[in-house]
């Protein structure tokens, strides 16, 4: 029982234009595999990965989404209750960077988190193994700063570069968010009711004897 208390499950949603490597990143992270073959995700893909963050066992429930518009009709509920949103772009394809704003906005509208300005996002610039580079680190970092300091990682799903680190940061960010909002919600708000019922309870005891 106490172990289940420590366990945490995080819902992580991966978003970005089609073919930026969302599925490849997830596969590299969970299965340590990469394939050059492109297979569009239809609807959504799901994977589970367990990580340890500061002595806590964290289960990441990774929701990989389809970048292609025609597969995006999964419903509003799909995005709800996410703990972290990972935005991915391709460093060699400028259009995938430009559309980040709309992905971010779209997510905030659909998921409608309580505090949109503090919602944990992480940005991944993928395919750093490829040339020519179209979006510099600096440009990406500037965008991140303008969005309330989103953490930025440059990754290569193909070479496994930075993937582990990026996902660890994702887990940490989501956890930090959970902890900071923890007080909002009282785990045992029913104390009043105990005192309410105390009288009949004690009466009952004396009666049965």
């Amino acid at each position: 029982m106490s172990s289940s208390r420590k366990k945490v499950l995080l819902k992580v949603i991966i978003l970005g234009e089609s073919s930026v490597g969302k599925t490849s990143l997830m596969n590299q992270y969970v299965n340590r595999k990469f394939s050059n073959q492109y297979k569009a995700t239809i609807g959504a893909d799901f994977l589970t990965k367990e990580v340890t963050v500061d002595d806590r066992t964290v289960t990441m429930q990774i929701w990989d989404t389809a970048g292609q518009e025609r597969f995006q009709s999964l419903g509003v509920a799909f995005y709800r209750g996410a703990d972290c949103c990972v935005l991915v772009f391709d460093v060699t394809a400028p259009n995938t960077f430009k559309s980040l704003d709309s992905w971010r906005d779209e997510f905030l509208i659909q998921a409608s988190p309580r505090e949109p300005e503090n919602f944990p996002f992480v940005l991944l610039g993928n395919k750093v193994d490829l040339e020519p580079r179209a979006i510099s680190s600096k440009r990406a970092q500037q965008w991140c700063q303008s969005k309330n300091n989103i953490p930025y990682f440059e990754t290569s799903a193909k070479e496994g570069l930075n993937v582990e680190q990026a996902f660890l940061a994702i887990a940490k960010n989501a956890l930090a968010q959970q902890n900071s909002t923890f007080d909002l919600y009282n785990e045992f708000p029913d104390q009043i009711k105990l005192t309410n019922t105390q009288k009949p309870s004690s009466n009952g005891d004396s009666c049965a004897c």
């Binding site: 029982m1 289940s4 208390r5 366990k7 945490v8 499950l9 819902k11 596969n27 969970v30 299965n31 595999k33 297979k39 995700t41 239809i42 609807g43 959504a44 893909d45 799901f46 994977l47 589970t48 367990e50 289960t59 990441m60 429930q61 990774i62 929701w63 597969f71 009709s73 999964l74 419903g75 509003v76 509920a77 799909f78 709800r80 209750g81 996410a82 703990d83 988190p113 309580r114 959970q178 909002t181 909002l184 919600y185 785990e187 708000p189 029913d190 009711k193 105990l194 309410n196 019922t197 009288k199 009949p200 309870s201 009466n203 009952g204 005891d205 009666c207 049965a208 004897c209």
Partner: protein, 406 residues
């Protein structure tokens, strides 16, 4: 309900997950898990796992994602997914905000039955947390991991599901009484009334033994729904502490109060208490089972009295001593046919190589009789009258009628 083809056509592969070698080996490795006849899953509206009857829900997190997506996808067209029928597997969804409950069954249950089992599970959760609280939690935090609050409740749910597979009371929507002579029952009732009259705001007093009702005394203006009684029975059965000592447990009865306020229920083993002790002793001695000696070709039967929502069954004997679940399934199927929403039936007689069953739904009662497979039809029907007469004679013993009120 959406036909599966339509789901598939629009979204040919909602989850292209299990393909290729993306080995989350959980399923492949675990044939045990895939072979289970009936799975039950509970998840939050966000798709976070809360409960899985079998297997570690953390490891199955991806599967919960799939379930939530199916629900979300159908919701986006202003509809609500109820069931998916695939060969001999039935997937039933119960979307009860803020939770989603899913049953996956290969046991030939009907959609209605599975839905009702899922409601029981949902009610079990609200009986502990109350619906108000549950809603509040998710209003504040859609991403809440409800397992935090339900530690220990899994056991209750496990027990409830096992219980519903071996007990007719759930699908019948009735409770079983401990057979007692009228005078003994009257003595118990008056003892309870005398003892409890002094207690203010006491709404119900329930005395039970081995999952059978001995006495239910209520405040005049309140009634207790059998579904709520089942939750209490389940709680008592599944909790060791309740069996061994006096205890106080706050409990919300979902059917009684649409769970705006939690009712606190005093659950007690009335083993102590000067007047009750002697009676309780005689109870144990009198725990005789009514056999069907007069009706040799009857193997077992269920009689539900509708007005009291109580039922009677003889103890289960051969050939079902080891296969109670099979017998329960025979009953469930018959019950399903009588109460089918598409085409309800009044009277059924069915025969197969294992047994014959007669099921009859009338205004006042429901009767289910399981016979030897080779029984003659006219003989079977003549037994019905005899059995009904016998039950009528024993009525006062086997049912708890005319309970006094507080």
């Amino acid at each position: 309900m959406i036909p599966p083809q339509e789901l598939l056509e629009e979204n040919p592969n909602i989850t292209n997950y299990i393909d290729e070698d993306s080995a989350d080996n959980n399923l492949k490795d675990n044939e045990d898990w895939t072979r289970k006849k009936k799975h039950v899953f509970i998840l939050s509206s966000a798709g976070k796992p809360i409960y899985s009857r079998y297997g570690n829900e953390d490891k199955l997190a991806w599967l919960f994602g799939v379930m939530q997506t199916l629900v979300s996808f159908v919701q986006s067209s202003g509809d609500c997914i109820k069931s998916i029928h695939a060969a001999n597997t039935l997937f039933v969804f119960l979307v009860k905000k803020p939770l989603i409950l899913v049953a996956v069954s290969k046991a030939q249950d009907g959609v209605q039955q599975l839905t009702s089992e899922l409601s029981y599970v949902f009610n079990q959760i609200t009986s502990i947390l109350t619906l108000t609280r549950l809603n509040k939690i998710y209003e504040q935090r859609q991403n809440y991991d409800l397992r935090r609050l339900l530690a220990g409740v899994e056991r209750l749910i496990d027990h409830l599901l096992d219980y519903s597979e071996t007990e007719p009371s759930f699908f019948l929507g009735a409770v079983e009484c401990l057979p007692l002579s009228l005078s003994v029952r009257d003595t118990i009732n008056s003892a309870i009334v005398a003892a409890c009259n002094k207690i203010k705001n006491l709404v119900f007093v329930i005395l039970l033994a081995k999952n059978k009702l001995i006495s239910l005394i209520r405040m005049k203006k309140y009634c207790l729904h059998p579904a709520d009684l089942h939750l209490i029975f389940n709680l008592v059965q599944a909790s060791e502490s309740l069996k061994n000592s006096e205890s106080w447990t706050p409990l919300c009865l979902p059917r009684f109060d649409s769970s705006v306020k939690p009712n606190s229920i005093l659950l007690k083993k009335l083993r102590r208490g000067n007047c009750l002790e002697a009676i309780n002793e005689s109870l144990n001695v009198k725990d005789e089972s009514y056999t069907t000696a007069d009706f040799q070709e009857i193997r077992h039967y269920l009689y539900k009295c509708k007005s009291t929502a109580q039922f009677y069954q003889p103890s289960i004997g051969p050939p079902y001593t080891q296969t109670t679940e099979h017998l329960i399934n025979v009953y469930k199927r018959a019950h399903h046919k009588l109460h089918s929403t598409v085409r309800p039936l009044k009277l059924i007689f069915e025969r197969n190589s294992k047994e014959a069953i007669l099921a009859w739904d009338t205004k006042g009662f429901e009767l289910y009789i399981v016979f030897e497979p080779l029984i003659d039809t006219t003989k079977a029907i003549s037994f019905v009258g005899k059995l009904l007469n016998w039950i009528k004679k024993k009525e006062e013993r086997i049912f708890h009628l005319n309970a006094p009120t507080l």
